[in-house]
């Protein structure tokens, strides 16, 4: 670190902090104000500036540790990345302007100083972006796993009868899982009838229909019957408009009706106990 810049930052720490907070408060959008309370803003801001200032004189490794701690905290608070980046940028601006005011900048060392500050700020910037993306990537991959676990559950409800409730969009990846879970589940639970409930599927287009038809056909091949239920009226109309032939599959509009049919197919019925 250039001695001149270093001394300036050290001596004017408080000035820089108040200046910085004023500017940031003015320039932030409402989105941030909403998520962050005033006290929290002040506290985190001073932490941010503190951290930047310690970078001025601390060892690199120590700083990286501090920085990742801070970045994780900020991500948790929901501070936008642009805000943190902007903050760093504003910090260098304040330092330069402050130095100009104090007459520390001369035409001779001007270019040198700016270059120096830039060289110092860029790695911090990169590190912040890096930590942010890592945190996001981790979140996304966790969610992906969570979603996969939810994507195609198979529930045995009665002996020989299993239900697969589907909720949400079906893409190719999920269609593959549905097929796999359906077939292994049918064999494992010794199902005679499988009910696929599509009440929660928002759009049934030709691809979804195609996957359902294929799944039903595969279920038939392993010796069970497939009932498709939860077809809402508007879905029924779009299926007709699309000209999709679902004649091979037994269809019912509710899961309740589907289970009744499934009981019938396995020659059973539900009776009310008398007395």
């Amino acid at each position: 670190m250039n001695q001149l810049v270093y001394d300036f930052i050290k001596q004017n720490q408080d000035y820089i902090l108040t200046e910085w907070m004023g500017i940031m408060k003015e320039s932030t959008d409402e989105r941030l104000i909403k998520v962050v309370s005033d006290r929290m803003f002040t506290q985190t801001s001073s932490e941010f500036i503190d951290m930047i200032i310690t970078n001025v004189d601390s060892k690199n490794k120590e700083f990286t540790l501090k920085l990742s701690d801070f970045a994780e905290k900020v991500v948790q608070l929901g501070w936008p990345l642009t805000f943190v980046n902007e903050g760093l940028h504003k910090f260098t601006l304040i330092v330069i302007n402050g130095m100009v005011e104090k007459g520390l900048v001369t035409p001779d060392n001007q270019v040198n100083l700016v270059n120096h500050l830039d060289k110092w700020a860029t790695p911090i910037n990169n590190e912040i972006v890096n930590i942010y993306t890592q945190t996001w990537e981790r979140t996304v991959s966790m969610q992906k796993i969570a979603l996969q676990e939810l994507s195609a559950p198979l529930i045995p409800v009665l002996e020989g009868i299993t239900v697969m409730p589907l909720i949400g969009t079906i893409d190719t990846e999920r269609a593959k899982q549905i097929m796999e879970n359906l077939l292994t589940g049918v064999v494992k639970h010794r199902s005679e009838v499988v009910l696929i409930d599509i009440t929660g599927v928002p759009v049934v287009d030709t691809m979804v229909a195609h996957h359902i038809i294929q799944a039903a056909e595969a279920v038939r091949l392993v010796g069970a019957k497939c009932i498709l239920c939860g077809i809402r009226p508007e879905i029924a109309q779009t299926i007709v408009n699309l000209g999709i032939n679902l004649n091979e599959v037994i269809t019912k509009n509710t899961l309740k009706k589907g289970i009744e049919v499934a009981l019938e197919l396995t020659s059973r019925k539900i009776v009310k106990v008398e007395g």
Binding site: T169, D171, T172, P202, V203, V204, D205, T206, M207, A209, H210, I213, P233, E234, I235, Q237, T238, N241, L242, G243, I244
Partner: protein, 133 residues
């Protein structure tokens, strides 16, 4: 044209984004649930065709208001391989990808107006409109 928004189709999840947009616009225009389902399904078909055959392209949704009649226009565009024989792809059951072959003819039946322009080797543009009754 008073309103237009566009979704780029690059991966499978963009199809979901496109039809979400279509559904929201349809809802705003006052389409009923059945027509909303028709419009979203049509968008789904067109967007999926872009994803499957052209790799990438875009789907734009436009609000229409002509002579007091309002409607929703879908424009699906790509710079993909184009369609050699348009009459053939509009036949039910014709497919080159092992699907049901109901996508394009189905989308045509779901919408009121349907128009395909395609030049082999250059790309395809499909414009489909649904009018509010």
């Amino acid at each position: 044209m008073e309103f237009q928004s566009c979704v780029k189709i690059i991966n499978e999840w963009d199809i979901v984004a496109a039809r979400q947009l279509g559904r929201n616009v349809a809802k705003e225009l006052g389409f009923g649930t059945v027509d909303q389902a028709r419009i979203t399904t049509a968008i789904s078909e067109l967007a999926r065709n872009i994803y499957l055959y052209a790799g990438q392209g875009s789907v734009s949704i436009e609000k229409l208001n002509i002579n007091g009649k309002s409607g929703l226009k879908i424009i699906a565009e790509d710079q993909g391989p184009g369609i050699e024989d348009i009459r053939r792809v509009m036949e039910d059951g014709y497919t080159t990808s092992g699907g049901l072959g109901a996508g394009l003819p189905g989308a045509k039946r779901l919408m009121d107006d349907f128009d395909i322009e395609s030049i082999p080797g250059e790309g395809t543009k499909i414009i489909a409109t649904k009018w509010l009754r």
